[in-house]
């Protein structure tokens, strides 16, 4: 199945890939790779490029304090004395339960397209970062259509459900602006073709 060039949406296909890449980088547990990308400015460049390509207002974000970023990540997505604002599981956003029908559909979908979680990935397959990464893999393999499905049917609902919570609860100056940006970006990056 290939998409007709004439009905291709205005966005180039690599916007999708880049957007997914950015989602994957942002919602993984803050690790050395992210730190390197932040320090080198590669992260900021990618954000700026995406903003320019899609016309979504670029976010104002900052990373003043690395340990603070790590703590905020935990507070927002992992554990929080006041309740976790945004559990990072797309199935939870879609079904209200873990490993529910949507998570199962995602699993079947990924299996169907030959993507599986790596042995070192100790989390659910429907973690936002994992889904985005799967999308990147699919896009790299030329399966833009499948990547788009991940973006539209799985990632976007998570942003719709939880982006406001992240924005409200963030005090790092990083996750809030980026989530807002990525949320609008994902709703802008339309994969749908005119029928």
């Amino acid at each position: 199945m290939t998409r007709d060039a004439a009905t291709r949406p205005v966005e180039p296909a690599d916007v999708v890939e880049q957007a997914l890449q950015l989602v994957a980088a942002t919602y993984r547990s803050p690790d050395a790779a992210l730190r390197a990308d932040l320090d080198s400015g590669a992260f900021a460049t990618a954000v700026a490029e995406l903003a320019a390509a899609t016309g979504v207002a670029a976010p104002v974000f900052q990373v003043t304090d690395w340990p603070k970023l790590q703590t905020t990540y935990v507070t927002l997505f992992v554990t929080n004395a006041a309740g976790v604002p945004a559990p990072p599981y797309v199935g939870l956003a879609l079904d209200g339960e873990l490993l529910g029908p949507s998570a199962e559909a995602l699993k079947r979908f990924l299996a169907h397209h030959g993507v599986e979680t790596a042995a070192g990935w100790h989390d659910l397959a429907d973690h936002v970062a994992a889904v985005a990464e799967a999308g990147v893999l699919l896009a790299e393999a030329g399966r833009d259509d499948a990547a788009c499905v991940l973006l539209e049917r799985f990632l976007s609902p998570w942003f719709q459900r939880y982006a406001p919570e992240v924005v409200a609860a963030d005090d790092s100056g990083f996750y809030g602006p980026l989530t807002e940006f990525l949320g609008s970006l994902l709703s802008e990056v339309s994969c749908e073709t005119a029928a």
């Binding site: 340990p67 703590t71 992992v78 554990t79 004395a81 309740g83 259509d145």
Partner: protein
């Protein structure tokens, strides 16, 4: 070509879930259902289960026939406990408290396992250097407590390893049993239900405490026509099945038991032949109980003397197939708890039922060699359900446990290890491991515990859920649930001793590990690698099983290996062996060892402490669908029983102007307030006490479903009375009043919380 329609079908192998289509086929219609053997960890009865997995998720667990503890059946907790594994609130990754943040403020960063282990090891070594290895305490509860409350502390060298299952639960019965029979009561209660004809339950909540096979045996005994007497200040579920209910005044059970002993002796109803053959000290007992007449007991217990006499005679008429079963939670009122258990055993002995059909049978655990390892430097006296340790740790270079001298018994008392954290007496405790022990919902005096935690240099919590106390830890190690991990073999002492094993139903969902791995990894970093010589858990289990000619692979298909038992005296006598382990080799009605230690050699009654006027003694118990305080975030179980109510008698409630289901506060003698909690106005309780089901009243938004539902008895237990013999903490000496005017908390439905309420 448009993306949609047929393209969509091609993208999705079998379609995207559509809420408007007919409900999809249930799990049992799918073709990828597999099963694996396990033993349940929702309570500690440890029933053998088979987990049915479909789509990477356990859908159902069932008991299986060949397992003597489930026999194909399962209780509500076991059935619904599965949902905890899929609880979004679970602990998912190792967490380290942010440097400089206050304990209890709950600020964490994620860490790798290596980082977490290194962090812990460094702090432990520092504590060892500054204060000695004894200054790290280990609390454990659950299957993995073998590693964290026995093995690791033994290898590390801390006698301060304790299990709440001793001093907050079974302590009195175990000490009494050790000093009467020279053996413990096994982890389950060794009552020969199959043969008994007359059952007297004292404060024993069968039916509310859904220990699976015990409930089966109890029901079958009643079906066979066994008579049942229930002694309880509350009309329990068991009482609803009873021929006689004796609504006893709380804290006077020992008086009743002594009066029964009196009747049996005075009227010559005891089994003289049995007593002669198997016991010592009957004469002293006869002289001792002469004073405890039914008339004396009637005044204390508020049970008519005639009734006391009648029941004693009925017991004797059915002896030896009449039994007074031992229950599990035996720390009740403190000072005479051990004596109460001794009196219970002695009445049983007078009936001649210990080691006889229809009474108490003997059971020993099946023997499977331990994995060969160097001898541990010390064996910690953490005790446990299966019998307190009798080793007193005095060998140098280790100091004795920090609770030594406070009581006679040898198993460590968990609540007595809190004080040294605060006072540094007899020596400071600066480090703490809490493996599955809910510090704020099991140990009395919660405020003291919180203060103590603030004083520590290292506090490590190992758990599955972010319980209140977990969020105070410096390092949080998330454990895999029983459906995701291997564990040590279950070597169950039973009428038919058996071995069962736990196989993970699927890999861990998150970055979690089993206690086994954690102990080994940590041990290696502590320089204790020689004590952890196995490669991994599979190799460990396989090697152990090979010593009995089996293997891990064989057990994978089998689940349980059942052995033959030696339940009765006759079985032991055929082998010329004596099951009684006392110094005299006989059942010691009169205990020389107690006499030597300056304790009462025969059971005595200690009159109960009376509470302030206008207040009610706070009793607590169980719900059939919950275990301790650990199942209250499980949506399935919480939907069945979502909040507790404070039981108060109809007449008292009328006097206070409290309506059924009205929300009230509970305020105890020290002004601690709990609630809002529903008033459960009922005819089923005496006027002088109120009752709460334990485990409710969680106080953390991190556990969305559990948070704020009902009241916690433990937060109201701001005092306790130490049993000077066993070290048990008598918790039922707290008094509460009901305060009107509590708002209706308007709990959202569990179904809604489970789906929507991701944030409090």
């Amino acid at each position: 070509m448009a993306l949609g329609g047929s393209a969509q079908a091609q993208l999705f192998p079998d379609g995207f879930p559509n809420p408007f289509r007919a409900p999809p086929g249930k799990w049992f219609t799918k073709d990828d259902v597999t099963t694996s053997y396990n033993y349940c960890e929702i309570c500690f009865w440890k029933c053998g289960i088979q987990a049915s997995v479909q789509g990477g998720k356990v859908r159902k667990v069932d008991g299986y026939e060949s397992n003597p503890k489930s026999r194909g059946m399962l209780c509500p907790r076991g059935q619904g406990g599965v949902a905890t594994t899929y609880d979004p609130d679970r602990l998912k990754k190792p967490l380290i408290r942010v440097e400089g943040s206050e304990r209890g403020s709950g600020q964490y960063r994620e860490a790798s396992w290596d980082e977490a282990y290194d962090y812990i090891a460094e702090k432990m070594n520092q504590i060892k250097f500054e204060h000695g290895s004894e200054s790290v305490a280990f609390f454990g509860h659950g299957t993995g407590d073998a590693w964290f409350a026995s093995y690791l502390p033994g290898a590390w060298g801390s006698p301060n390893a304790a299990k709440p299952s001793v001093s907050l639960c079974t302590g009195p019965r175990e000490t009494a049993s050790q000093y009467t029979f020279g053996r413990g009561i096994s982890g389950h209660e060794q009552i020969d239900w199959d043969e008994t004809d007359y059952i007297v339950l004292i404060g024993h909540h069968i039916g509310e405490d859904t220990h699976n096979t015990q409930l089966q045996d109890f029901a079958l005994a009643l079906k066979r026509g066994a008579k049942l007497v229930v002694v309880d200040p509350r009309f329990s579920v068991a009482a609803s099945k009873a021929n006689d209910w004796l609504p006893i005044k709380p804290a006077t059970d020992t008086a009743l038991l002594l009066a029964w002993a009196n009747v049996l002796v005075e009227e010559g109803l005891y089994d003289a032949e049995y007593v002669d053959k198997y016991t010592v000290g009957f004469e002293q007992l006869a002289a001792h109980v002469a004073q405890y007449t039914p008339e004396w007991a009637a005044e204390i217990t508020e049970i008519p003397a005639d009734t006391i006499r009648r029941i004693a005679r009925e017991m004797a008429a059915h002896a030896p197939r009449a039994v007074l079963p031992v229950n599990r939670h035996t720390v009740w009122y403190g000072p005479d708890d051990m004596h109460r258990m001794r009196s219970l055993y002695i009445v049983n002995v007078l009936l001649g039922n210990y080691g006889m059909p229809g009474g108490y049978y003997f059971c020993d655990a099946p023997v499977v060699e331990a994995y060969p390892h160097p001898a541990l430097p010390l064996s910690p006296a953490s005790g446990g359900c299966g019998g307190g340790s009798t080793d007193v740790v005095t060998d140098s270079p280790f100091r004795p446990a920090a609770d030594r001298g406070k009581f006679f018994g040898t198993a460590t008392a968990v609540q007595e290890l809190i004080e040294p954290m605060l006072t540094g007496e007899p020596y400071p405790i600066k480090g703490l491991f809490s493996y599955g022990v809910n510090l704020f919902h099991s140990i009395p005096m919660v405020e003291r515990t919180k203060q103590a935690l603030k004083e520590l240099d290292l506090y490590v919590a190992i758990d599955i859920l972010p319980m209140e106390h977990v969020m105070w830890a410096d390092v949080i190690l998330p454990e895999s649930t029983y459906l995701e991990r291997y564990d040590d073999l279950l070597l169950q002492a039973y009428k038919t001793p058996f071995i069962s094993a736990r196989f993970p139903a699927h890999p861990p969902l998150y970055d979690t590990r089993g206690a086994f791995d954690m102990a080994k990894q940590l041990g290696e970093r502590l320089g204790l690698g020689e004590y952890f010589p196995w490669e991994n858990v599979e190799e460990y289990l396989d090697r152990r099983l090979s010593s009995i000619g089996s293997s891990l692979e064989a057990l994978k298909d089998q689940g349980t290996i059942v052995r033959r038992g030696r339940p009765y005296f006759a079985d032991w006598e055929r082998l010329n062996r004596n099951p009684i382990g006392t110094p005299s080799g006989k059942i010691e009605i009169y205990s020389e060892r107690f006499a030597e230690a300056g304790l009462d050699p025969l059971p005595v009654f200690v009159p109960p402490i009376e509470g302030p006027s206008g207040m009610y003694r706070l009793l607590y118990g169980r719900s059939p669908v919950h275990t301790f305080a650990r199942t209250h975030n499980n949506p399935i179980l919480m939907e069945a029983h979502g909040e507790n109510g404070v039981w108060i008698s109809t007449s008292e409630a009328a006097g206070l102007g409290i309506r059924h289901n009205e929300y009230v506060y509970l305020e105890n003698q020290d002004g601690v307030r709990e609630g809002p909690v529903r008033a459960y106005v009922t005819e089923r309780i005496r006027n002088d006490c109120v009752y709460l089901v334990h485990g409710f009243g969680h106080k953390t938004p991190l556990m969305r479903i559990a948070n704020g539902r009902g009241a916690s008895d433990n937060y109201l237990q701001t005092r306790y009375d130490l049993d000077p013999v066993s070290g048990g903490a008598g918790l039922r000496n707290n008094w509460v009043k009901l305060v009107k005017g509590a708002p209706d908390p308007q709990h959202p439905p569990v179904a809604w919380l489970a789906r929507e309420g991701s944030r409090a």
